[in-house]
């Protein structure tokens, strides 16, 4: 049987970037996996990464999160968000945040979309989250945006790769 785990596109930031967008994502796979390694271009006191699908800025995103930070474990949920806020951190120098998203059944046009995410930031937090995008539209583009209090964008060396997995 053929290999069904294929890289679709990859981007590595060479100059500080305010956002990265993958567009024209083919609808020929079953699931997508997005692997992101990021940090802010400066050293902000807070930093995070947000995901939007198909450029949708409406309040159509929600998430359930479980994370550990220091000696604490915390769970919470967010409703009616304008993006899927994946993670906080990192703020320490030279550390990158590794995010892995499973975007399940992304190309169906009859169901809401479901995302499983794991975020690993050695300087701050490890988390898992489940998110839904309340749209029946097939996902054809993904925009990844930094949120930091200095608004300086993703740092050089931040990388973004999207893979497709096709079921038999």
């Amino acid at each position: 049987m053929p290999n069904t785990y294929e890289p679709i596109a990859t981007t590595t930031v060479t100059t500080a970037s305010p956002a990265v967008t993958f567009s024209n994502i083919p609808g020929t796979y079953t699931d997508l996996i997005l692997v992101v390694s990021v940090r802010a271009n400066s050293t902000p006191t807070s930093f995070g990464t947000g995901i939007r699908f198909n450029g949708d800025t409406g309040t159509n995103y929600s998430r359930t999160v479980f994370y550990g930070s220091g000696s604490s474990a915390v769970a919470f949920s967010d409703t009616n968000q304008t993006r899927f806020f994946v993670s906080s951190g990192p703020t320490a120098a030279s550390t990158f945040n590794l995010i892995r998203l499973n975007i399940m059944n992304y190309s169906n046009s009859v169901k809401y979309k479901m995302v499983l995410a794991r975020n690993d930031d050695i300087s701050d937090v490890t988390s898992i989250s489940a998110a839904s995008w309340r749209s029946n539209n097939a996902i054809t583009s993904i925009t990844i945006t930094p949120f930091d209090d200095n608004s300086t964008g993703f740092a050089t060396g931040s990388s973004f790769t999207i893979y497709g997995i096709k079921a038999a």
Partner: protein
Amino acid sequence: MAVVSIKNKLRRGNLLVGNDPYIPNSYESIATVTVGGTSQASIELTSIPSTYTHLQLRCYLQADRATYGMGEFEMTVNGAGGTNYSRHGIVGYGSVNTGYWGTANAAYIFADRGLGTNTGGTYAGLVIDILDYKNSNKFKTIRGIQGVDFNGSVGGYYGAVNLFSGAYKSTDTISSIKFTSVYGNFTQYSQVALYGIKVA
């Protein structure tokens, strides 16, 4: 660091920043079951070939359960019941975070909040690894991530996200896997896709 195989003249990267995309050496689709227009109580994959090293299940599941946004389901292997399954996990839902465990279960019971429902309007996602599934010297280890979210709470249940592991306490090769919904049936478009991973 990227790795070059002199024997096969293949170049492979890993997931570290700055490397080329990582391409698994072998990740092949074995079989997929998608529920049609009639909901069904279980989803089963049979005649799993023993030509791989590890298995991965990628699932997208919903049950037709009234009132509640959350359902439950179980997994059995090779038709085995008895006390052949154990599990540990951590789960977050609403503002609650906790752990759970079991040592002698009749099925691999996913977290109490493991399934989406048509009442909640969303599907659960799961990615499950079964390691060394054909090794006749080992009990089989199962691990995975699961989550479901439906924009708050429905029927008093919030979305949930789990990290879990467990064991099928048998040295038998795994040749079939069955998912059973505890409350209601699996709805249309629910899907279980099975993949095989080989090592060099």
